[in-house]
Chain length 352, copies 4
């Protein structure tokens, strides 16, 4: 039985980790870390867990936790893990970090977009970017530190990845218009996240400057072996869960000057994702809907070709708390410990 600790167990992503691990056959939670609720019963914070979790919340002492756990999930604010991670800790325990601290390889880019100094850049190189479908081979029993991708980025990257990698689209023409449920904004008590402010309302935010932009650019750059500069615009949606990305890109024409056909593009997607347990390529003409993946670890991907403009419109949908956070973290844990990749993640989406 894998002993798992969670730092930040009372945020929404932390809560989802608890939900998923409660049904995981090979792991158990030994530490519910929550600085705000120390010594309070976990179920008092999330009463859906009443009669399911009896533990009390503990503080965020990573060193002590490293003695007790085999793996630590850090669902913490930017900079937290970078500020306390040490070689000593990594010798004792594997870490799956749900924050952005080790996602971006170029520390200058990190510091510029996040506006904070990176306190432990020495671990950046070691950290594996835990996008399982792309980097599965790097996430092994030898891996010590996984940078778990964010919700927007997981969805944005996976939706375009095969086409960038195969050179079918111009990466610099890529525009990602993303829509996210409000759980992505966290459980902090702020006026803009109040029910009456979000309900019956939609808005863009972080326009031309959202922090997830360089993460997408870096990963797609690796895929296409190029530099890639994109537009990424997130929007806040009046719903709890779910991200939908609508991505626009110019299709590269074939040698004969024609656009690739629907079937040609489909074949590429199929080649990359056809065997993936958690990616569902939609049938022709079907547009992904966030509701169809709710509560599950699926990413649904579809696309349409607009011959008039020479563009492809790609669409991806996932549950931001599952594949966009806790589900992917568990998927990474499964890989780290040599378990079946889908263990604990055989979740059937809930509708309605």
């Amino acid at each position: 039985m894998i002993k798992a600790g969670i730092i930040g167990a009372t945020g929404y992503a932390g809560g989802e980790l608890v939900r998923l691990l409660a049904n995981h056959k090979e792991a158990e939670i030994v530490w519910y870390g929550s600085r705000s609720y120390i010594d309070r019963k976990y179920y008092e914070v999330y009463r859906n867990m009443f009669r399911i979790v009896e533990d009390v919340c503990r503080d965020d002492n990573l060193m002590e936790l490293a003695e007790e756990a085999d793996v630590i999930f850090t669902a913490t604010p930017q900079g937290f893990l970078a500020g306390i991670l040490t070689e000593e800790i990594l010798e004792k325990v594997k870490i799956i970090d749900l924050s952005a601290d080790y996602r971006i390889k170029d520390v200058a880019v990190y510091e510029k977009w996040y506006g904070i100094e990176h306190k432990s850049p020495r671990f950046i190189r070691e950290a594996v970017y835990g996008l399982c479908e792309v980097n599965r081979g790097l996430i092994t029993e030898n891996t010590r530190l996984v940078a778990n991708p964010g919700c927007y980025t997981t969805c944005s990257i996976l939706t375009a990845y095969p086409l960038v990698k195969e050179g079918l689209i111009d990466p610099d023409s890529l525009i990602v218009d993303a829509k996210s449920g409000t759980s992505g904004a966290g459980r902090g008590a702020k006026v803009p996240n109040l029910f009456c402010e979000v309900n019956e309302n939609i808005k863009a935010y972080g326009v031309a400057g959202h922090r997830h932009t360089p993460e997408i650019e870096e990963q797609l750059g690796y895929a296409g072996n190029c530099r890639c500069t994109i537009s990424f615009t997130p929007h806040l949606m009046p719903m709890n869960r779910g991200i939908l990305v609508t991505e626009y890109a110019n299709l590269n024409r074939k040698e004969d000057g024609t656009l690739p056909s629907y079937e040609e593009i489909q074949a590429v997607y199929e080649r990359y994702y056809g065997g993936e347990r958690f990616i569902r390529l939609q049938e022709k003409g079907v547009c992904p809907e966030t509701k169809w993946v709710e509560g599950s670890n699926y990413v649904d991907i579809g696309f349409a070709i607009d011959a008039r403009t020479g563009r492809i419109i790609m669409m991806g949908a996932l549950d931001n708390l599952v594949k966009g956070a806790a589900g992917q973290a568990v998927q990474n844990m499964n890989l780290l410990f040599g378990l079946k990749e889908s263990e604990g993640l055989e979740l059937v989406p809930c509708f309605p």
Copy 2:
């Protein structure tokens, strides 16, 4: 492996049965009955099931299905099952009926409230009212026909049952003010169920005449060994899932003229439900919330005593599609086949 057939598999309750049985280790679905979608892939109707269910929808031929299945779930309109059920079918297959056809023992009451003639009253006596926590002993491998309780009734009855049975409240003073998510209204394309009609709106309906009233009265009457006439008012809520009942009743005073204390009432609830897997008695001062049970088979129950008025206010919450329909049906199936009662129902509520 139990072979299960579903008639009405493309309604919301039918869809939830599919979701639950997909994770049930001892049962598999052999028949997705849906008159409206015959020969269409099931996942075309509910795309959350894409890549999970490959079957096509079939018609509602109960006789043919009886040959193939061990158990049939009928999630069908009132009168459907009563109109076609025969002894021959019951000799071949167990039936769990999610409609109201066999819930009410007094056929005259049924015909009055439902406004239709009952076509097979001869099976009413045999049918067991499948409220597992109350009638568990009657749901056995010898049982052929289970009348699966409705969503409002399950919640309304379980919330008051111990107090009625123990004579702690006056049954005729009972007022049930119930609030239900819109999935309870089904998937029929009707203007009142359109998004723009339900969203940002609440209303009562069926006031002083809703069909679930006699079902609650009958069952509480059995509990209290009395006739019981209640007020039941359902309300439509702008949310997908969940029922909350707020029940008001006059407390019977003790011999010394005082009201029973919170702890005395709590002890009674504890005695009846303390060992129940799917009933969670809330801690003092905690009011059940529908979100805390969403997606699970739990019923959360809490109460407060109002000494000023001599009333008790009881509250119960469940997910209308799970414990209020499909989950309870699976629970009944488990009992019918001697399985672990919670098999396939170890669902952790999803929050947010």
Copy 3:
């Protein structure tokens, strides 16, 4: 032109006052009081008011404001106005208080339910309870202080008032099950009011102890010339605006032992409310819906008689920010200044 000042202009009720007064022909706002946003443009707080209101927010100096204004609306926390009101202020300006400070005539009751000491009980007697349809005659150009009723209370009282006053129901049997949109909880940044906590969720709160209870009891007691002890249970709804109350009461039987008929009850309602501009008695069989009054100053009232139980079920719906707060406050202002009672309130409900 009446000069109006608002203390607490950046709460939801204050914001609604601004919206309503913006279209009022005889009044203008001269003071947008908001301690939290002093010197900031009002439209920066509520960007719906961009290009409509150019003023900046000012502090809550009641004395200074009294020099500038003809009427002051206080949309402030309990105890605020009671703590600073003086005879000197009341000599200069009329005050319409949207808090509960002067609603309850018995100061001991106020202090018990609100848990704070009343700092200026000497003004309680003078304050008129501003439920216009009941106390219209007392709200005149000579009135200096109006206690504007709360949202729950306005709806609860008006729905039952004629029947209590005419002795048609037993006041002590009255049960008020109330459901409110989340704007009633205010704009404070608290976790329970976050979108993800409220959305797709319903709950009761303040069960058997909500502060609005004694206000309803006191007013219905005046109506029925009796003491009246009721049950009042509020519920939080996943919508922005609207209150629906469902009220249950035992009908008093007539001398011949029969229940009053629907038409007899209707005639009583008609007698009291038939001429009221803002009360719409629904047709037989029609249940009020909150959406039908949204954005307007209407109260919609309907009822059904349950002959089986001898009870009447009354239903009332209003917009908690309009008739339940700012709209009624403007209605009171109109009465105080001898204007047409509906001036600025001829709002057509918005659907959908």
Copy 4:
């Protein structure tokens, strides 16, 4: 007093016309046309209008109505008006058509995108495209037929119009990612519009083929004096009202090779829209939100420059039933009859 008739008065756009005209000082409705509800009281269809509208619904006899009315609003399905419009009718009455029948000047384009034959192309040239801020000069007392723009198109065009007209962006690079509340889908009883299908869900639809595309292209083509081929992707949002468009375009570089500055772009917007009553140019850094315009005739427009990609991201928000349909229709009526353009439209947005 202008006599107005509405054909299609019981759809959502028709209902909004009724709401707006109820407060219009110079117009009154003389005909509530609704084929589905003939002879039924209008308020039985929309109970928000109870006690406000006493009329009954009538059929859609345009010829008869032309005798009674000064202006007819047709809020009808595509092809309806084109199928019955005659010179005789236009000689008697002005028509403001809320359908797409006369919006597109090239009849071949109309027939291709709408898939129906145009029955009266002879009136297309005469019809004025009623985008008031652009074509105000053409909407006069001599105009007989106005093609009222659609909701998506009004928002899409106005947001980009000045920049296209001034040649600041490359029209062919324009991508419009649009998000609409569900009232835009109408009141038809269809499964995809049910509450449980829309709530907690988002999706794109009509990808690379939505009918509003050529309308936007045509109008922007007139503005830029060019052919213009764009990508337009609509999305369905779980809210009642509101459209937000997020538009991406490549900025044309200036002669010195630099991008235009924020202030330069702002100055252009200011020049076109600075004096417009219903367009609110947002302050720098403020992104429009649909909630800020709800219930009003405003269009809120903001933008950001992304120097990294050389793109501008423009955002526009409006209420699809007001400025996107009924409000703009009333604005057109005001122009047609020489009234103050904002008469009946001085609506303060409702928040929350």
